[in-house]
């Protein structure tokens, strides 16, 4: 059998199962008496073993096998779980992950870690090593016998019991090995009625079928070549895997289609032909539907990225000697796959920072009158057309005065400044180079990575904000757009030039009226409902000073978190879906443009980067 075709599937499925392993181990660690995590772990590792053996990755299969033996001993009570054993299993899962990634990268998985294997086997030796060994041996050396797949009727009562009867009947004909799912699954009410095994027996297929059917309620018996079978058949609905590049290509096509549609609608309206207009309108609607379908197909729950953090936090807590309760919220909030892929690293930085510099050790916390266990919250929530992800700790907070002193010395703020707002604080922290300052104790590392995080988030068209209170904790808020490729934008103009403002950051539009202008610290501000919002004149930004500004001008109130600005333009032209083209800013190009786009009439327009304006 050609295994190459299965390599990608092996990699993605193994990663899924490894993630399940980590989740199960964490749950088990929380509640050592719980049974479910052990079963889940056993299932996942068993599946990895089967896949790895089929792919010929012996080193992976060997580790999985030893881990499975230990789990079996733990499950049957021959060996009692201890923190040391859990740590050993974490180690085994890591080893499996290394092996899987090495296999995925096309390198030969490293020879198995003899020490780990020995430790696993020793630990499992609390009792006799059971049937799993025989199964492994058979599975490894040569898959003996034929693969049998049995489905029990959907309306059968207690399918697990029926499966057990069928299995015993099969056992009367020969030797049964490689049972999937493991027999323990039969004892659960949610067993879905499908199982596979290998049967080594001289009996012809017909006889095997007759024997199995005789136990009753059997819907189907099939014989097949060994193919890694999903341990948990897709109960979540019918799904297929699609290469992300396909979706990217589709998205690009749809993007161009959207531009063409906009052009078509624009032309149709100008021609004034009602028939053409109606057709254009219909095509516009269809393209809109297609666009949202394609975007939907790319949407992935943030949980996919969040899932790796509980393990990270646990390990960091151990290494740093900190107790932490890690909570996650909003894992089901969805983001474009492309955004999601980019957001993992910045979040990792923020979580590391919070663990390393935000949360205190239990002794320090107790001395400060806090609970010894710190709290770290990772949450996602939908806000207009963007998603806000918060990393929040209840640690020591940031020492503003230390940052201020440092910022003054480096000339980052006026010497007269005596307080830093959260925004100013972030700007200082995010300054490249600030991170190298290690003189201010307790703060030194605070800057580490913040510049990196800010840059990465900006590159996604997102923003970073901070809220911190000394002694109480720090929250970093990352806002990212739902999708990268197509955004809804407000079109504005200065003279004959048009500029697009992503709607995600538009709070409202108001008239720029000289009577509602005031000055706040020598800066012009617009008063909107008793609130002074600093103004930004787009004319100034694009150096259009020909004195042709219209008398009455609208302003667009931009809003990111708590920050606001009033962008004064010549005119508002309406909303449009725009396709963001990657943008390599020419030298000298102002940094407040985040990209370019082609408008409905075929003319190009620049896209304003709201974050840069605020």
């Amino acid at each position: 059998m050609d295994h190459a075709g299965y390599a990608a599937l092996f990699l993605t499925e193994s990663r899924e199962h490894l993630r399940a392993c980590n989740q199960a181990l964490l749950a088990w660690e929380q509640d050592p008496a719980a049974v479910e995590p052990v079963d889940a772990l056993f299932r996942a590792i068993h599946t990895i073993k089967g896949m790895a053996a089929t792919m010929g990755h012996d080193a992976i299969a060997r580790v999985a096998h030893s881990a499975e033996n230990l789990l079996d001993a733990l499950r049957t009570g021959r060996v009692t779980v201890t923190p040391g054993l859990l740590q050993l299993l974490f180690g085994a899962v890591d080893q499996l992950a290394n092996g899987v990634e090495a296999a995925g990268a096309g390198t030969v998985p490293a020879a198995h870690d003899g020490e780990l294997l020995a430790a696993l086997d020793r630990a499992a030796d609390g009792g006799a090593v059971g049937a799993a060994t025989a199964e492994y041996a058979v599975h490894q050396i040569l898959p003996a016998g034929r693969a049998v797949s049995v489905a029990i009727r959907a309306d059968a009562q207690m399918r697990g019991g029926r499966a057990m009867l069928a299995l015993r009947r099969a056992g009367s004909l020969g030797t049964v090995t490689a049972l999937r799912p493991a027999a323990a699954a039969f004892e659960r009410e949610d067993f879905d009625g499908r199982f596979t095994f290998r049967l080594e027996s001289p009996a012809p297929n017909e006889e095997v079928v007759a024997a199995l059917v005789s136990v009753g309620d059997i819907a189907a018996v099939t014989f097949e070549d060994a193919v890694p079978e999903r341990a948990e058949p897709a109960a979540r609905g019918r799904q297929i895997r699609v290469d992300l590049r396909r979706l990217d290509a589709m998205m690009k096509q749809v993007g161009e289609l959207v531009v063409a549609r906009n052009r078509l609608v624009d032309l149709a309206i100008r021609r004034g032909d009602p028939e053409l207009e109606a057709t254009a309108e219909r095509i516009a609607r269809l393209v809109g539907g297609l666009q949202s379908e394609v975007i939907q197909a790319r949407m992935t729950p943030v949980g996919e990225v969040f899932d790796r953090f509980p393990r990270l936090v646990r390990d960091l807590g151990r290494d740093l000697g900190k107790q932490v309760r890690f909570e996650m919220e909003g894992e089901d909030i969805e983001l474009d796959r492309a955004v999601l892929d980019e957001i993992g690293d910045p979040l990792l930085h923020l979580i590391r920072n919070a663990m390393d510099h935000g949360l205190e050790t239990p002794e320090v916390r107790i001395a400060a009158g806090k609970a010894p266990q710190g709290r770290l919250l990772l949450s996602a929530s939908r806000e207009r057309n963007s998603v806000a992800i918060r990393v929040s700790d209840d640690g020591r907070g940031i020492d503003r005065s230390a940052i201020l002193a440092r910022a003054r010395r480096d000339g980052m703020v006026d010497a007269g400044t005596d307080t830093l707002t959260d925004d100013q604080l972030l700007r200082v922290l995010a300054r490249p180079g600030f991170s190298t300052a290690r003189t201010v104790s307790g703060v030194s590392g605070r800057g580490v990575g913040v510049d990196v995080v800010a840059t990465r988030v900006r590159a996604l068209g997102g923003t970073l904000a901070i809220q911190t209170a000394e002694g109480k904790g720090t929250t970093f808020v990352v806002h990212v757009p739902l999708t990268l490729a197509i955004v809804r934008a407000l079109l504005t103009s200065i003279g004959s030039e048009r500029y697009a403002v992503p709607l995600a950051y538009v709070a409202e539009t108001v008239e720029f009226d000289a009577r509602s202008v005031t000055a706040v610290r020598d800066r012009e501000a617009l008063v909107v409902r008793d609130r002074a919002i600093p103004t930004v004149h787009l004319r100034d930004l694009v150096s259009m000073n020909d004195g042709t500004a219209p008398k009455y001008r609208p302003s667009v109130i931009l809003e990111i978190g708590e920050r606001r600005a009033a962008l004064v333009v010549d005119a508002l032209l309406g909303q449009q879906d725009i396709v963001v083209e990657p943008f390599d800013a020419p030298r000298g190009m102002p940094s407040f443009f985040g990209g370019a786009t082609i408008l409905a009439d075929g003319a190009p327009a620049l896209i304003l980067d709201a974050a840069a304006l605020l």
């Binding site: 009562q157 207690m158 697990g160 019991g161 057990m164 009867l165 027999a183 004892e187 005789s214």
Partner: protein, 120 residues
């Protein structure tokens, strides 16, 4: 000659119901037991063709009774009577030697199907 049956259940109601279903189908109820211990004893005395066994009974549950019975007679034909949600116990009973099972509330047709399979 009709097949002989030993009915084991701690509830008279259930014993009566099973007996009725089987009698109407032509089986001969040769004995009843209301505990696991009794079931094992009566099996030895009566040597019935079939045993229906409740899983949860006082004085030795049905699973232990199956184990005991199969120890002396590996060919004993025991049909387990279980309630919904006892999947794990049913699996255990099968491993102990039970030949089939039915799930309460009983449907006569399902009980008879199971009996036919066991005796078949």
């Amino acid at each position: 000659m009709s097949h002989t049956v030993l009915v084991c259940d701690d509830a008279i109601f259930m014993r009566t119901m099973i007996s009725d279903i089987l009698t109407q189908a032509g089986f001969e109820i040769v004995g009843e037991a209301e505990s696991g211990v009794q079931a094992v004893e009566k099996y030895r005395q009566l040597k019935p063709d079939l045993v229906t066994m409740d899983i949860v009974m006082p004085d030795m549950g049905g699973i232990d009774a199956v184990r005991e019975i199969c120890k002396t007679d590996p060919d004993a034909k025991v049909l387990m009577c279980s309630a919904m949600g006892q999947q794990a116990l049913v699996v255990e009973a099968i491993q102990a030697g039970a030949k089939d099972f039915v799930v309460k509330p009983f449907q006569p047709s399902r009980v008879l199907e199971a009996v036919q399979r066991v005796l078949g």
